[in-house]
Amino acid sequence: MENIYVTIGLEVHCQLLTRAKMFCRCSTDYIGKTPNTLVCPVCMGLPGALPVLNRKALELAIKTALALQCEILPEVVFHRKNYFYPDLPKGYQISQYDFPIGVRGVLEFTLQGVKKRVRIRRVHVEEDAGKLVHEGPDLRGAVSGVDFNRAGIPLVEIVTEPDLHSPEEAKECLVMLRSIVRYLGVSDGNMEEGSLRCDANVSVSLSPEMPGTKVEIKNMNSFRSVFRALSYEVERQTELLRAGKTPVQETRHWDEVRQVTVPSRGKEEAEDYRYFPDPDLLPFCIPPEMLQEIQATIPELPLQKKERFMREYELPEPEAYILAQDRDLAEFFEACVREFPSPRAVCNFILTEVLKNLNSLNIGIRESKVTPSMLAELLKMVERREIGISLAKGIFEEMFRTGMGARDVMLKKGISFLTSERDLEKVVREVIEKNPQSVADYLRGKEKALHFLIGQVMRATKGQASPEVVKNLLLRELSGGE
């Protein structure tokens, strides 16, 4: 079977985290709000209303472009993108055309430990449209309304060059992009809520010299659907090519229910957006000191953080990468290590237990009740062998649920855990006295007998002792210790 050559480019939109919309002062906090309550003459496109640029939106877009190592163009020019659609109140979208905020950037990420590099074609800023709402029994009998609460929210659009060569790469690239916008604090990058949206161009070819046909995929609403839609599309185009056919250059929608891509209905004729500079907005010259100020606000980015974690904490690459992806988690990790300087143990516990609990509630570490100190305390108890690791996991679950510290959890749960080895020694001696046969067996070299004795101690302490400690104590007693 011959090789296939996959080429993917992404077009990503992120809602910027400004308090006010891009050209008016309406609030951007639209999730769950009654339709058309966060509107004004400007974002409703009423006759006579004029846009006034929210500088914060511009700053966040510049910050994004800088973080993606773009060249920043000295002058910001807004263009009108003209087309008709009911969610577009003015009949045009204020966007950017030949003078975007930034061009020629770079995004790096790793896939299974291999470093990948994607060129960024452009980063520009534009306004979001409203949202169509359909109500009624079916599409035919439906009443359509428009909610303009979202209209005018600033978006940053990031367009990559077609440098991605598999659905895995595309997904990982998107994950990194989300990680960066979150690091920067420019967007919350939530695909499910639509604050991060991704379209993709996919082409498949059977020879590296022959470019494939570019197919645009839209309507992918989660990272998983990006991966699945692209995988489906690569397969679809490959099959067509193998059958001697050529894919049609078109826009296709990902159908989440049927897990297939389907050609988009309508709007097929190549649209002419008649871009021209918006005469309502004067070009804005970016002063060099503004760039410097914004540059100074860019934090350590995921890849830099990963490298540092590998260097400073001697974490293996995969673990460091996962930690560094999530700025909050990485900061939690570092805070925890400051109090319990055993990075590997902290990292392992975070990547297993902490993530498991966070994922079960689908929340981030910032929203959890456990603080770095609380985790450090728990891990210290394990290190001191006061509790075993399996007990620690259970205690953590309870800490996570209630926000109580490890010791409080144990008190509340009636886990009278053995605070001193002296208490434990007493139990150990009792077990030795009650099981002379097993002691004799062990002394004759039967390893199994030791496990039986450990089990007896554990039962006597209702599992609250650290098996490791029990084992050591038993060995000490049996070898005639002290």
Binding site: L46, P47, G48, A49, L50, N82, P86, R274, P279, D280
Partner: protein, 495 residues
């Protein structure tokens, strides 16, 4: 009370009567309402008369201000407002069917400023649909007539405001000027019309026709009143990014009369060519002679790109208009047709039946000019010509302080005379378009009559030089001392 007694009044004169208790805002307002009742059925200057609200406001002002005699600049003064300026709670149609029934939920910045200065909105005036036209014949609600001759047009697009002020249905008005829409009707109706420097007056709330050209300006009977209105409406506005960050104009900035005599007036030869009605040139030349006698120096200058300005304007303005008018799609406000037959049908039917022919023509022109493949040859070229036109003015103002020209090459024409040929109609603005393209201020004022029709003179200044503009206009006004219009309007004059 006979309104004719006030025909030569300025705002200051009304205030003097108010202060002496000889007149009150509500009595004055009633007098104008009576005048409107009397003459507007023949003129059709108004699309909406703000009867109840205005009277209520007048009475409230009287109550609030009892016993005080220092008035805000427009206190108690009725102002007619062109119907493309948004007025809270008062219909704003832009002379278009597509906005019939649209009642803005907000006030334009200029309206806020007028009201803060004590003005009373007396009504909304007729206009060419979306300000596209030079005769007010493009109004979807029927044309306005010229108070001097009901068979003739009042000019446009602010023809309603011009006719209302000339016929003394209102003492002052606001118009908007994109390529001459304040100055040309002011000239046709024998009044004063100012087009401020682009960016001197906020456009917030002015329904956009061509955003890079639109400016709101006062239309008044005297230069004095134009200054007063300009003082009130000018100045920076946070809601309009294209509004210049300067404080409001103040009459204190106007140089004293004696400084006028040392000024150099440029006469652009392209504006006195054979295309201009010789009777008009005769009247203006006579005025210029008098100015010379007063000591002003006249020099000939050239604005070589004048002839291209009109062509470029009809690329740039329709391009912006095609985009500005995209929002009238039947979704949110105004007319909706075919809403039950799908989206495309709704767009098609709403816009087909909502817009008049001239608006459609310009939307098509503009859409074409902006289309990919034509953009460079049309829109971009138009913008380049615009730069050349602007440079013409810069060079001219290096050699003189002000320019004086006719406002329009023609006298008010007859209704229907130019509607057959759009190009003929466009030519009526050939002398007002270049300064609009350059963004410089200019004022149109009456400088005499010929065969019973007013002759308009245009004074053009450099950017933000309204101060000198007003200085010369006031000087000319005093020098000529023409009676202010109070035309007799009756069906017997319709010939």
């Amino acid at each position: 009370m006979n309104l004719e007694e006030f025909r030569n009044f300025t705002i200051r004169d009304y205030h003097a009567l108010f202060a002496r208790g000889e007149l009150s805002p509500s009595v004055l307002l009633e007098a104008f309402f009576r005048r409107i009742e009397e003459v507007d059925p023949l003129l059709h200057a108004f699309l909406f008369v703000n009867r109840e609200n205005a009277l209520e406001r007048a009475r409230r002002l009287e109550k609030e201000w009892k016993g005080r005699d220092l008035y805000p600049p427009l206190w108690g003064i009725p102002v007619a407002v062109k119907d493309n300026i948004c007025t809270l709670g008062i219909p704003t149609t832009c002379g278009s069917k597509i906005l019939e029934g649209f009642i803005p939920p907000y006030n334009a910045t200029v309206i806020e400023r007028l009201e803060r200065a004590g003005a009373i909105i007396i009504g909304k005036t007729n206009m060419d649909e979306f300000a596209m036209g030079s005769s007010t014949e493009n109004s979807a609600f029927g044309p306005t007539r010229n108070p001097f001759d009901l068979n003739r047009v009042p000019g446009g697009s602010s023809g309603g405001s011009a006719a209302a002020v000339a016929a003394f249905e209102a003492p002052v008005a606001l118009g908007s000027d994109t390529g001459g829409s304040v100055r040309q009707p002011a000239a046709f109706c024998g009044i004063v019309g100012l087009r401020p420097t682009y960016g001197r007056v906020s456009r917030y709330g002015l329904v956009s026709f061509a955003s890079s050209l639109d400016q709101i300006g006062p239309m008044t009977r005297t230069v004095e009143d134009a200054i007063t209105l300009f003082e009130v409406i000018s100045g920076k506005d946070e809601r309009d990014s294209t509004c210049a960050p300067y404080p409001p104009f103040s009459r204190e900035e106007i140089p004293p009369q004696e400084d006028i005599r040392t000024m150099k007036i440029g006469l652009p030869r392209e504006y006195f060519s054979e295309g201009v009605d010789p009777r008009m040139v005769k009247v203006i030349t006579a005025v210029l002679r008098e100015l010379e006698k007063e000591g002003l120096e006249l020099i000939e200058v050239s604005l070589p790109h004048t002839n291209y300005a009109l062509e470029a304007y009809y690329i740039v303005a329709p391009s912006e208009a095609s985009s500005n008018l995209a929002r009238y799609d039947g979704v949110l406000y105004g007319m909706r047709k075919g809403g039950d037959r799908g989206l495309q049908d709704m767009y098609f039917q709403t816009r087909s039946s909502g817009f008049g022919p001239e608006v459609k023509r310009r939307i098509l022109l503009g859409t074409y000019s902006l289309s990919s493949g034509y953009y460079d040859a049309y829109y971009l070229k138009g913008m380049k010509v615009r730069t050349l036109v602007r440079r013409d003015f810069e060079e001219a103002f290096a050699t003189c302080h002000l320019l004086v020209t006719p406002v329009s090459p023609v006298f008010p024409f007859f209704l229907g005379e130019r509607t057959k040929s759009p190009y003929e109609m466009y030519l009526a603005d050939v002398f007002t378009i270049p300064s609009a393209m350059a963004g410089v201020p200019s004022i149109a004022m009456n400088c005499g009559y010929e065969d019973g029709l007013p002759v308009g003179m245009q004074i053009i200044a450099g950017p933000f030089q309204e101060r000198v503009l007003f200085a010369l206009a006031r000087f000319v006004e005093q020098m000529l001392s023409l009676p202010l219009p109070f035309p007799e309007i009756g069906p017997e004059r319709r010939t």
